[in-house]
């Protein structure tokens, strides 16, 4: 086993109860997580205006009638009775019709209008879909399901519609979705067309590209975000642990040649006759990297339809960015994710705007779980290459497994000052949930025992409150 293999997310974890191999069945979790059905799971990517038939088959809903008809035929002939024989004729006619018919063609033109393609989080965005039958045959039973992006919930109307469409006829339906942070692409519209008897059906996906991009604003009054004691010598606004130039009184000391005259305590000199220099608390700029654990396994929540730990982490990171840059620090963004994700530390209006869009729309920070596992070793190495020795790391992770907790401990051991903000995704509804909560608590306790500050951020509180609660026990 190579080093890389040893730390691949979801595949190789230290066996806790919730993690242990004999209690894990990936398919179970996948089934539970996928609240959406299978029709669109393998749906192809379809260009706008194109129609791709995914499936064409017989529904077999007339099997029962066919059986009864044959039974009537057999009994009628055997007993020389006319009634069952004639009755079987009707059944055979129905079954025969279903056998010879084919599903109607699907040649649809779809036009989707998104009322506000750049909404604020929480806005209700109306979506209107107009479907026109471009085929030369009537579709007697047409069911439509619009391709709402995975992470958007429908809050009004329904993305489903049924219609009978003659050649050239159109039908329109609308619904509204609740905007969430991120860049979303609508999938193609799925159409299910059946013949009159419903014996055959054709499933097709009709391409129509629409997007919705929701970029939250930074909070105007973010809570102070604590960092760890800093030893690096860049003048800035972080109160360091040494005296020098600054604004806050730190200490007095005997005058040394070269001290600026402006820092000489003349009153004391007049009183005692000794030259005394005033030291102020030196304020320093800190480089901070906000790093998000966005592995597939980190997309967890206390209940299936609450915001995930990743979603809360990025919201918290947005607040942290606003708070830290307001305090004069350089702030960057990274992720422990399958793919590279890095925004170099900086500040100022341009960097702020860049960070706002980066946090909202970078694929690695998406609210949708990534398809691939994350090689944590490789992701950490990538990150370490980006971090300078004096960069503080604020890691956002639900700490749902030992892998990230071990990585934090290793970063700390290598001299990086790490603060962990952990959105709590655990619940107490079942035995398994209780076990997972107990294990997470132990991980937090273990990190704290190494003097690594951990902000345990409960689902029902805002980040500011969690920071205040944590600072009671932690002095940076």
């Amino acid at each position: 086993m190579t080093t890389n293999e040893r730390v691949t997310d979801d595949e190789h974890r230290r066996p806790g109860i919730a993690d242990s191999a004999h209690f894990r069945d990936p398919s179970d979790t996948a089934d539970q997580r996928d609240g959406r059905g299978a029709v669109d799971a393998d749906a192809p990517t379809v260009d706008a205006g194109d129609t791709v038939t995914v499936e064409e088959h017989r529904t077999e809903r007339w099997y029962g009638i066919g059986m009864l008809a044959l039974l009537g035929l057999g009994v009628g002939v055997l007993t020389d009775t006319a009634a069952p024989l004639l009755a079987s004729g009707f059944g055979l006619a129905f079954a025969g019709y279903g056998t010879v018919t084919s599903p109607p063609p699907v040649d649809l033109d779809v036009e989707r209008t998104v009322a506000d393609p750049a909404p604020e989080p929480g806005d209700h965005v109306e979506v209107t879909v107009t479907v026109t039958n471009d085929a030369e045959r009537t579709v007697p039973d047409l069911r439509l399901i619009d391709g709402v992006p995975d992470r958007l919930g429908v809050v009004a109307g329904t993305p489903r519609h049924g219609a009978v469409l003659g050649p050239g006829e159109s039908t329109t339906f609308d619904y509204a979705v609740r905007a969430e942070r991120g860049a979303f692409e609508f999938d193609g519209l799925t159409a299910v067309a059946r013949d009159v008897s419903g014996a055959t059906e054709r499933v097709a996906v009709v391409g129509e590209h629409s997007s919705l991009r929701c970029v939250p604003r930074f909070p105007t009054d973010p809570p102070p975000f604590p960092l760890r004691a800093q030893t690096v010598q860049h003048t800035g606004r972080y109160p360091g642990d040494a005296g020098g130039a600054g604004v806050e009184f730190y200490a007095t000391r005997e005058y040394r040649r070269g001290d600026p005259l402006s820092r000489v305590d003349w009153k004391r000199t007049a009183r005692t006759g000794d030259l005394t220099t005033v030291d102020f608390r030196v304020e320093r700029t800190v480089r901070v990297a906000l790093v998000f654990d966005t592995r597939r396994s980190a997309h967890l929540a206390p209940s299936p339809h609450e915001p995930s730990a990743v979603e809360r982490a990025v919201a918290g990171g947005t607040t942290a960015y606003a708070s830290l840059t307001r305090a004069g620090h350089d702030v960057g963004v990274g992720a422990v994710a399958p793919d590279e994700c890095w925004l170099a530390p900086g500040r100022g209006d341009t960097h702020r705007e860049e960070a706002r869009h980066f946090l909202a729309t970078h694929p690695a920070l998406s609210p949708t779980p990534p398809a691939d596992d994350t090689n944590v070793y490789r992701a950490t190495q990538r990150l370490k290459r980006r971090l300078t020795a004096e960069t503080q790391v604020v890691l956002f992770s639900p700490l749902h497994d030992d892998l990230l907790a071990d990585t934090v401990a290793r970063l700390d051991a290598h001299g990086y000052a790490v603060v962990v903000v952990s959105p709590d995704p655990t619940a107490t509804d079942t035995t398994g949930h209780l076990v997972a909560r107990g294990e997470r608590r132990l991980r937090i306790a273990d990190l704290r025992s190494r003097n690594i500050p951990v902000v345990d951020w409960h689902p029902d509180e805002d980040l500011g409150h969690a920071l205040v609660r944590t600072r009671r026990r932690w002095s940076p």
Binding site: F23, V39, P159, V192, A301
Partner: protein, 193 residues
């Protein structure tokens, strides 16, 4: 005309001729052997049986449109433990007993480790004291939670318990596991207050 349609046409035509031969006196120009109706009847009944079997065993192929109304569901930490626990058969059930016992023993051992670590981390026990407390059942006031670690597989060993489990579907292992997990969770409460 495709083969399916051709076959249907032949079938319908044959049926019409057959019915005419049997029921229309004018059409009795052919002397039909008495075995022919019997043969037709047998073929129809066999076909009905085949069709009926297919009807009973086939799964509906109607397309179930995907749910699009709600955001895709997130997992909850520990779901996989619950899935595995749900698969463990009740006490006294037959089939795969050895494997089920193994899974239960492994789970119990893992939960025991968690209990010990929790007692050490949050209650100030030494590792040895914690192990002793768990094995003796003195770590909690909850008798169900205590009993989970005091029997080799964490479940009732009495005959009455096994019989009750067999007939009622009651799952003492699961109930005790839930109590134990709940007690462990409570021991760690307040750690982050």
């Amino acid at each position: 005309m495709n083969s399916r349609e051709a076959l249907l046409t032949v079938g319908v035509a044959t049926a019409v001729v057959g019915i005419a031969v049997v029921y229309v006196p004018v059409a009795t120009f052919v002397d039909v052997p008495s075995s022919v109706p019997l043969l037709i009847s047998a073929v129809a009944l066999v076909a009905a049986l085949v069709r009926g079997r297919a009807w009973l065993t086939h799964e509906s192929r109607d397309v179930r449109p995907a749910e699009r109304e709600r955001p895709s569901a997130m997992g909850v930490p520990g779901d996989e433990v619950d899935v595995t626990l749900a698969r463990a058969p009740p006490v006294g059930s037959t089939g795969g007993r050895g494997g089920a016992d193994n899974r239960r023993i492994q789970f119990r051992q893992s939960l025991r480790d968690l209990a010990v670590e929790t007692l050490v981390t949050f209650q100030g026990y030494t590792t040895e004291e914690a192990r002793r407390a768990v094995d003796r059942g003195t770590w909690t006031d909850d008798p169900h939670a205590a009993a989970f670690f005091t029997t080799p597989t964490g479940e009732a060993r009495s005959v009455a318990g096994s019989v009750r489990g067999t007939f009622s579907g009651e799952r003492p292992f699961h109930r005790r596991a839930e109590h134990a997990a709940s007690e462990i969770e409570q021991l760690g409460r307040g750690a982050d207050a």
